[in-house]
Subunit: 246 residues, 2 copies
């Protein structure tokens, strides 16, 4: 029984995803920024006009699509035109979502490559292109899952108090929805992420093998990008949910 | 400049791989054992006679082979018959290895599926097959890299004191080589892994979202499987190195 899609489990899933994201970011910081891996066509035309990271992400999504990763409502691909699943359809007992066409992965990818990598990794090129790109794929997939979980968060907030959200939904008023979904939990998330990041980077720093990322840097990523993009998904979900049920 | 292949960096690489392995194992323990994902043909014939995990590992290796992952002397594939690289060859300035045909990945995979997963994950089936299999691929690749790093460790030990190892190498005497490469560093590794595992599982335990793995369990994996298999690679490397230079 897959409990990850149940609304009652939203909070636990989000908390557990913090480890996944922090571990993935720490792993990426082993390597320098390595700008060439983000340049389309840098390695010639063999990578389907993509950068090395884009190509490895595309190849990963192709293989995961075959085993129906994107049949699950909490998984969204970065690329279109992926292969059909070769496994029979999943029986999703409880998909609680009422609208699910929102996919902001192109914005997530641009933010990750242009903002997050330069923020967490030291400048320079260490020739570890493949290893860095493997880490990038893991980071992008974890960030995408966390940010798009906003759909489940929004559905949960709607079920708790539909009357509080329906007026703004009916008027398709994004600003009011953004105000209505904003709550103090954000500050708790940031505090918890900072405590975890401090813990998980502590041993790395003391082992003094290589410089690691500062806990504050990981908190920045939550504050500046993950939480805002998650809220954007929540608002878009509520706008779409209403249109659907109208 | 890729320093990861330099003999002077062997110790740092091994220490840093501890984080990668511990993170990967912790990620896997989110999910139950899920025995069906290890059964060949469980999902019909579409997965090329493989289990779900085997198929996802194979697909991952196919895409990584295209971007020449296995051209690097510290990366060994689990599968044969992978595609040729589509990128031009790497210029490996400093490959310090003198022999590199040793590949014990089939033993690593069997050990991981039959011993390590039942050791770290709770029994049962949570339907999270895809997510668990993605973690398995990350664990298998990290374990393979760590265990096959024995080649670099053995090369380092040889360069430090060739006269100490040459007699047993000349006589192809595995038992003497095993005795000669064994040192007190193993106990230090276990202590460091225990400290790290204790740190990294601490927050997870206190967050009480889901039960996590005990630090001792991760130490067991190092003691029972990673270190012995790494030493096996060291011995095989020295046997092969001698034959090559003879």
């Amino acid at each position: 029984m897959n409990t990850q899609l149940q609304i009652s489990h939203v909070r636990n899933v989000l908390i557990r995803l913090e480890e996944t994201i922090i571990f993935a970011l720490i792993e990426r910081t082993q390597f320098l920024q390595n700008p060439p891996i983000y340049e389309p066509r840098r390695f010639g035309d063999v990578l389907e006009e993509e950068s090395l990271v884009g190509f490895m992400l595309l190849e990963c999504e192709r293989s995961h699509a075959k085993v129906r990763r994107y049949a699950s409502p909490d998984e969204l691909p970065f690329f279109a035109g992926l292969p059909e699943p070769i496994l029979p359809p999943l029986h999703l007992v409880d998909n609680p979502l009422h609208a699910n066409t929102i996919n902001i992965n192109s914005a997530i990818r641009a933010t990750y490559e242009q903002e997050i990598v330069p923020h967490i990794c030291r400048e320079g090129d260490d020739d570890q292109y493949g290893s860095a790109a493997v880490c990038d794929v893991a980071c992008l997939q974890a960030l995408s899952k966390r940010i798009h979980y906003g759909k489940f968060v929004a559905e949960s907030k709607f079920r708790e108090a539909p009357e509080r959200l329906l007026p703004a939904m009916n008027e398709q008023d994004s600003d009011s929805l953004m105000a209505a979904i904003t709550n103090q939990i954000e500050e708790q998330v940031l505090q918890r992420v900072e405590a975890k990041a401090r813990l998980y980077t502590q041993e790395l720093a003391s082992a003094s093998t290589s410089p690691t990322v500062a806990p504050e840097t990981i908190v920045d990523i939550y504050r500046s990008w993950i939480i805002p993009m998650n809220k954007q998904v929540q608002v878009e979900y509520l706008l779409q949910r209403n249109a659907e049920s109208a």
